[in-house]
């Protein structure tokens, strides 16, 4: 039996190495709401990514939510020299009006290593609405920057309206910080209606969710994220390794789609 365990583990290691994981959900800074999680420090990034078989990724900072977007973006600027190869950052954005001090997406040119933007409408006190976020979305479309948002920060009708208003904007619904499971009905309905809506997989864990989504919408609509250090990256990684889909589809979810999105960004 131990031999079987060893073989299963080794097969997974080899498969994980081959798939080229690129992690959309790496978080620096002190986690909030996860009392058992320990902060991931910049000097631990490389090791943490190696443990999760990630050879690239998108790094975010808790401060962008908990303190202010600008403080989070500055914190990410500070870790720039420590970013591993093929690893970029996601800045936090605010609506472009009223105008606030930076650094913020939409104010001047975007630093080269910023390859994604995240919003926290609920935490930062504004509605997810065209009249509030329209100018930011136009700017993101113009710079080919994907928009990330936690599902706990949005309401589904508003996201649908925004996705329809900006079909050229790639919107990645992130499955944290509570179960996306309970929102699977609106999530799947929205994915069917709006081809620019993608889903990040760190908590996309309902039985058969991956297979269903790939079958209905295509593997290009799913993006691997670990949400480490709050979550163990081996969870969402294992979901992809063991999914009943093709290796090409796994590779797309594991990293190809995120790399393509990050590669299109124009500073």
């Amino acid at each position: 039996m131990e031999d079987s365990i060893r073989k299963m583990a080794e097969a997974r290691r080899q498969q994980a190495e081959a798939l080229g994981f690129c992690d959309a959900g790496i978080w620096l800074g002190p986690p909030v709401g996860f009392p058992l999680a320990e902060e991931l420090k910049p000097e631990q990034l490389q090791r943490a990514m190696r443990r999760g078989f990630a050879c690239g990724g998108l790094v975010s900072h808790w401060r962008g939510k908990t303190v202010s977007p600008q403080d989070g973006n500055l914190a990410l600027e500070a870790v720039r020299p420590q970013l591993p190869l093929d690893t970029y950052v996601a800045w936090t954005a605010l609506p472009l009006y009223p105008v606030e001090p930076g650094p913020l997406p939409g104010l001047g040119s975007l630093p080269e290593h910023v390859r994604g933007v995240r919003i926290f409408p609920r935490s930062h006190g504004y509605p997810l609405a065209d009249w509030m976020l329209g100018s930011l979305c136009e700017w993101l479309v113009g710079h080919c920057v994907p928009l990330f948002v936690w599902h706990v920060e949005l309401d589904w009708p508003s996201l649908r309206a925004l996705a329809r208003s900006f079909p050229g904007l790639s919107i990645v619904v992130e499955t944290q910080t509570q179960k996306i499971l309970y929102h699977s009905r609106p999530l799947f309905a929205l994915m069917r209606e709006c081809s620019n809506v993608l889903v990040e997989t760190s908590n996309f864990v309902g039985a058969g969710f991956l297979e269903y989504a790939v079958g209905q919408f295509g593997a290009q609509r799913l993006i691997f994220g670990s949400f480490q250090p709050m979550n163990d990256p081996l969870v969402s990684l294992g979901m992809i390794l063991d999914a009943d889909i093709s290796e090409a589809e796994k590779a797309m979810i594991a990293g190809a789609t995120l790399r393509a999105l990050m590669g299109k960004v124009r500073p």
Binding site: M1, L181, Y182, R185
Partner: protein
């Protein structure tokens, strides 16, 4: 299922009304088990018996066991809101093939885990040498019913019924309940932890293995709420000795739920 050897110590079947589930029935679970080398699963009730009690459908679980050729074992739900009804049905089911113990769910049944209503369940388990699995979690600010199921509330019964093998399902959850769960598993020989569900904390398996004896930790999926694949690789790839992984993935569940003979053989 050639070569399958893993035991999933915490799964369910049935359509969960609260979310869309593309895979939720016994056939889906068996297909998934085949793909992941899972030989047996313990069903901690199905949707009907969890929400309405064993009288609402435990016979169906026996049929599922038989149709699965002995792969899907099941627990009888003790509904603390209807203790007499539950016991009447459980008394009948206790000798059925595939019946492996009791399931408690204080949060669903809105009955505190230390409520006297559970006395009969624990006594029943003691009298019949059964294991008891309960849902447990931490205090949650967005899911207040979890307060019915925090681990420390079980301690009185654990102490009074040392002969009952008691599994803290979900290992106390993602917050302070975990510390209590670990404490109970350390302090009481009859307390075990399963990590079914979305207890996806960083290096959880290594942390648990460093905190309690390896014999105390059980692999579980919480299907269909979670895909069984979610918890498997984190064990296989954990920084642990293969003998420890073997206990977690196979042996501990067989021992706790007293699954022996041909069913237990690899």
């Amino acid at each position: 299922m050639n070569g399958a050897f893993i035991v999933d110590a915490h799964a369910h079947i049935g359509l969960p009304g609260v979310f869309f589930s593309p895979q939720s029935c016994a056939e889906h679970l068996l297909t998934s088990m085949d793909r992941l080398s899972v030989r047996l699963a313990i069903l901690g009730g199905d949707q009907t018996t969890i929400f309405e009690g064993p009288q609402a459908g435990i016979a169906t679980l026996r049929e599922v066991y038989e149709q699965s050729r002995g792969r899907l074992w099941y627990l009888g739900v003790f509904d603390a809101r209807r203790p007499e009804d539950s016991l009447r049905v459980l008394n009948e089911a206790v000798g059925w093939p595939g019946f492996a113990g009791l399931k408690l769910h204080p949060s669903v049944h809105r009955t505190w885990a230390d409520d006297p209503a559970y006395e009969q369940a624990w006594r029943f388990a003691a009298d019949h040498d059964l294991a008891v699995l309960s849902h447990t979690w931490s205090i949650s600010d967005y899911n207040p019913v979890q307060r019915y199921s925090t681990p420390e509330r079980f301690e009185g019964y654990v102490r009074r019924f040392p002969q009952v093998r008691f599994v803290l399902g979900h290992a106390g959850g993602r917050g302070s309940g975990r510390h209590q769960a670990v404490r109970l598993a350390r302090d009481y020989p009859n307390v075990f932890l399963d990590f079914a569900g979305d207890i996806y904390c960083y290096r959880l398996i290594e942390t648990l293995a460093a905190s309690v004896p390896a014999e105390k930790i059980l692999f579980g999926s919480d299907f269909p709420w979670m895909d069984p694949a979610a918890n498997l690789s984190r064990v296989l790839l954990a920084d642990l000795d293969d003998r420890v992984k073997r206990k977690i993935l196979v042996e501990n569940a067989l021992a706790v739920y007293r699954i022996r003979g041909a069913h237990a053989e690899h």
